[in-house]
Structures are given as structure tokens and as C-alpha cells.
């Protein structure tokens, strides 16, 4: 009965959902477009996920330990237990993302198999491969990757990333690195727009990015995928700062559930992300949020303890 693929499918009794295309670039990038102007929150259990959803998060990132704890506890940080991720998927109706280690395509396959909506190939976890990132084009599930500059962003997009975020310096509560990376990416795009065609070739070589993506970015005047800020965002004002610098949305890692009043802080960061140019509203929502996460000043952090240098 299985002489052709067509008969095989018929034989399995699939409903005739004939001409449906899945896993295309447009669909992968499209979900990120739906998340724009929103806040994606790190959560470590279903209760936190529900608080995030009730606070207006557009998605949650399921992980075993938030970056601040990974930093404090040390050791190898890996993909979370799939059962824990699934319990979060069952707890909320918003999209659920999860992290795999850089280059660990089997962790990525596991996350795809359990049906997560987005995979973050993340420097926050301990890299599994020092030379190769995951070949993200081979997957139906979309990927988000961190970047510190335009070259890194375009290399990840060339590998199939459907969304880019700044790396920042996760788990510190210090926004300075996220600002640096967002400004680097957006500033380089602004420069691209002023370049003549012949200058683009040399520029692509300089930043180590594929020419066709440099050209596409120059023509669009923006990355071909959505750009979020991540790493060290801890207050409504931090979120609004990054939105004003020009990112499309916000990831908050340790900043919410390591603070004194997570629900109030989560709601305030959501409000400030939407109303990022309304100073009165941002002032209003910033009041009485309790203790922010304590934080680590980046300049006091030795180079060896920085996560942003992971990946290339």
C-alpha cells in the first residue's frame, strides 16, 4: 500500500488538508511579527507562567533556572526537562519558547518534538559546539538567536534564525550591554543605508556576513527579521529605553521573578513597552513596584564570567 508517498498519506487516513504549506520562512518570521511591541518573560514553572500570562506577556520562555541563578550556581547549564516545559505549555495559551545550547541540534530536535513555539539557541546556556551553530533551516520550528552586532545577526539569519535579540549580559540586571548591542545593530543598519552598492561588498566582507543579506538589509532599511532586546532589562524604564532606541519588543529574564513583586513589575513592564513614548504613563506605572532585582554591575564582572562572548 505504500508504493507512493500519496498512497501512504491516504492509507494513514489524514484529513485532506491538501495544499497547506508549513514551516516556511514567512511563517517562522511571521510569529515573531505577532510578538512585536510585547514582552516575553522567563519562567521556571507553571505558576510563574500563569502570572506572566495574566500580566500581559505575549509569550513565555520556559527554563529551569533564570540567568541570575545560572550565574550564581555555576556548572553546566543545559536545556530544561521536557516534562517541565510541557507543564508550562499546558498552563498557558500564549506561545511558549525554550532554550537549547548553542550548536546542540539534538536538544533543538527534542524541543521541536514536544511542540514548543520558538527555540532560543542561547548563549545563556553552556555552548555545546565551539564552531557550529544549529543549522536552523532544517527545522520547522522557528529560532531566535542573540547577536551583539550586525554581522553576528546576519550570520544567524543565514543559518535560519527567524528572529534576533540583543545578547545583553543576561542575569545581571544591568541594561548597558543590551543598549550597546541594540545600538550597534541599528547603527550599522543606518550606515548601510547611506552606502553605495559597491561599498556593500567590502562591508559584507568586513563584518563577516553573507552579501545577499547585507544587500537585503540595506534595501529594507532594517533587519529582514524582527529584532528584540534582551539581557539585563529590569525596570519599565529599561524596556521603554530599548523601545525608543528602536527594537521591536522586549525579553525580560531574571528581572521579573527575581524582584520583590513579580506580578506588579511584569504588568508595569508590559505597559511601558506599549506606551514607550508616553512619559506620564511610564512614570505612573513605575510607582510602587517594590524591590527590583539586585543586579551586578557589568564593569565589575570579569571577562570570563560574561555570557555575551559565547557564539560568534
Amino acid at each position: 500500500m505504500q508504493t507512493t508517498q500519496g498512497e501512504f498519506i491516504q492509507g494513514n487516513g489524514h484529513t485532506p488538508t491538501s495544499n497547506r504549506e508549513t514551516g516556511t520562512d514567512a511563517l517562522k518570521r511571521g510569529l515573531a511579527q505577532m510578538l512585536k511591541g510585547g514582552v516575553i518573560m522567563d519562567v521556571v514553572n507553571p505558576d510563574q507562567a500563569r502570572i506572566a500570562e495574566q500580566s500581559g506577556a505575549v509569550a513565555v520562555m520556559a527554563l529551569e533556572r533564570v540567568p541570575a541563578d545560572i550565574r550564581r550556581q555555576g556548572g553546566v547549564a543545559r536545556m530544561s526537562d521536557p516534562a517541565m516545559i510541557q507543564s508550562i505549555m499546558e498552563a498557558v495559551t500564549i506561545p511558549v519558547m525554550a532554550k537549547c545550547r548553542i550548536g546542540h541540534f539534538v536538544e533543538a530536535r527534542i524541543l521541536e518534538a514536544i511542540g514548543v513555539d520558538y527555540i532560543d539557541e542561547s548563549e545563556v546556556l553552556t555552548p555545546a559546539d565551539e564552531e557550529h551553530h544549529v543549522d536552523k533551516r532544517q527545522f520547522k520550528v522557528p529560532f531566535v538567536c542573540g547577536a551583539r552586532n550586525l554581522g553576528e545577526a546576519l550570520r544567524r539569519i543565514n543559518e535560519g534564525a527567524a528572529m534576533i535579540r540583543s545578547k545583553g549580559e543576561a542575569g545581571t540586571g544591568d541594561v548597558v550591554e543590551a543598549v550597546r548591542h541594540a545600538r550597534a545593530i541599528l547603527g550599522e543598519i543606518a550606515r548601510l543605508k547611506t552606502m553605495k552598492r559597491e561599498e556593500l561588498y567590502a562591508y559584507a566582507k568586513d563584518i563577516g556576513a553573507p552579501y545577499h543579506l547585507v544587500e537585503e538589509t540595506a534595501d529594507l532599511g532594517r533587519l529582514p527579521v524582527v529584532l528584540f532586546a534582551a539581557g539585563g532589562i529590569a525596570t519599565p524604564a529599561d524596556a521603554a529605553l530599548l523601545m525608543n532606541i528602536g527594537v521591536d519588543g522586549i525579553f525580560v529574564g531574571s528581572g521579573i521573578f527575581k524582584s520583590g513583586d513579580p506580578a506588579a513589575r511584569a504588568q508595569a513592564i508590559v505597559q511601558a513597552t506599549t506606551h514607550y513614548q508616553d512619559w506620564h504613563i511610564i512614570a505612573e506605572v513605575s510607582k510602587n513596584l517594590g524591590e527590583p532585582m539586585v543586579g551586578i554591575n557589568i564593569s565589575s564582572l570579569p571577562e570570563t564570567e560574561r555570557l555575551a562572548g559565547r557564539g560568534w
Binding site: 514567512a26 512585536k36 495574566q54 495559551t93 506561545p95
Partner: protein, 188 residues
């Protein structure tokens, strides 16, 4: 004729709608607070996360002003999350406008890996089938008597409907280059 069209900008792909409208020669206003509705000819509610729309709309007192805007007869269109936000019944407790007499299931086709693109025949739209981009999309299960079904998929899911000046689509015309749905909406 150029119109002034509001796009609900609480969250989601409002910029994609805005770009398409501007390309068609219309003026666009981003709507985040009730007073942004003043002077608009029509309102679009984009794709995004419907639960987030609900929280923000309640917090800033947008529910009743948008309801009044729609009840005054001006065209209002919801795409995907916007469709959910328009609906009377979404099968769970979340804030919506409750304007359209439709019963909706969220994420009805599955998770992101099940998101799909398929041609959609939309009644009243001349030319070839519309490219339907469905991202964690909702489906309309049943419609009230005042609601006209404009498109169904081959499995019977209703994915476009109209109730007088209200339009709802499960898919995202703003993610295509095809302006026909936007033109149809502005003719309501």
C-alpha cells in the same frame, strides 16, 4: 479617496497594516488610548496576542470607546488576534469587545509548527484566491444570524466573516503584498 485609518497599536503587527494602508494612499493613526479614535474613518485590530490586547485595553479604558466607534457604523476589522478581540464568545474568560456574533476557538489549528499558508477563496473578492497566512490562528466555529460567512477552508473551518460594518479574518493579509482585503474593508 484617502481615508484616515486607525490601527490598534497596543501590541502586534500594527506596523505591517500601517505600511499597507500608506502604500494605498491612506493616512494612518496608531491607537493606544481612547482619544486616538477621534477623527478616524475606520479601525483595524492587528495580529498579536489577544490576551495582551485585552489586558491593555481594559487598563486604558479602550473597550467601551471602541465598542461605541463600531456601533456608530464605522468599519472595524480584526485579523487573527483582532478577530478574537472582536468576538462575543471565545470559549474562555478573557476581555474582548463582544461586538461580533461569532463563537471562536483560539489556536484552533495547533501550535506554531502547525501554522500554515494556503489559498483562500473569499466571497466578494475578485481575482485569484487570496494567500492565507495562518499563524497559531483562530477559527470561527459558529456564526449568528446577522453574520455572513466569507471564507471557509476545506476542513469546514470558517476563516473570514462579516457582520455589517465589522470584518474578521483568521489570516493575515497584512503579511502579503495583496491589498485586496484592505480595499474591501475600506469599502464597507
Amino acid at each position: 479617496m484617502a481615508k484616515t485609518v486607525g490601527v490598534l497599536a497596543l501590541q502586534g503587527d500594527f506596523a505591517e497594516h500601517a505600511q499597507m494602508l500608506q502604500r494605498m494612499g491612506h493616512r494612518v493613526v496608531e491607537v493606544r488610548l481612547p482619544h486616538h479614535l477621534e477623527g478616524l474613518d475606520a479601525l483595524i485590530m492587528p495580529g498579536g496576542e489577544s490576551t495582551t490586547f485585552g489586558k491593555l485595553a481594559v487598563r486604558w479604558g479602550l473597550i467601551e470607546p471602541i465598542r461605541q466607534f463600531a456601533l456608530s457604523g464605522k468599519p472595524v476589522w480584526g485579523t487573527c488576534a483582532g478577530l478574537i478581540f472582536l468576538a462575543k464568545d471565545v470559549g474562555r474568560d478573557q476581555p474582548t469587545l463582544g461586538l461580533m456574533d461569532i463563537q471562536v476557538t483560539r489556536n484552533a489549528f495547533g501550535r506554531q509548527i502547525d501554522s500554515f499558508i494556503t489559498p483562500v477563496q473569499v466571497r466578494g473578492l475578485a481575482g485569484p484566491a487570496f494567500m492565507g497566512v495562518f499563524i497559531r490562528a483562530p477559527r470561527i466555529n459558529t456564526v449568528g444570524s446577522g453574520v455572513e460567512v466569507l471564507a471557509e477552508l476545506d476542513d469546514g473551518a470558517i476563516v473570514a466573516a462579516r457582520q455589517g460594518n465589522l470584518l474578521a479574518t483568521s489570516f493575515h493579509p497584512e503579511l502579503t503584498q495583496d491589498t485586496r482585503m484592505h480595499a474591501f474593508f475600506l469599502s464597507l
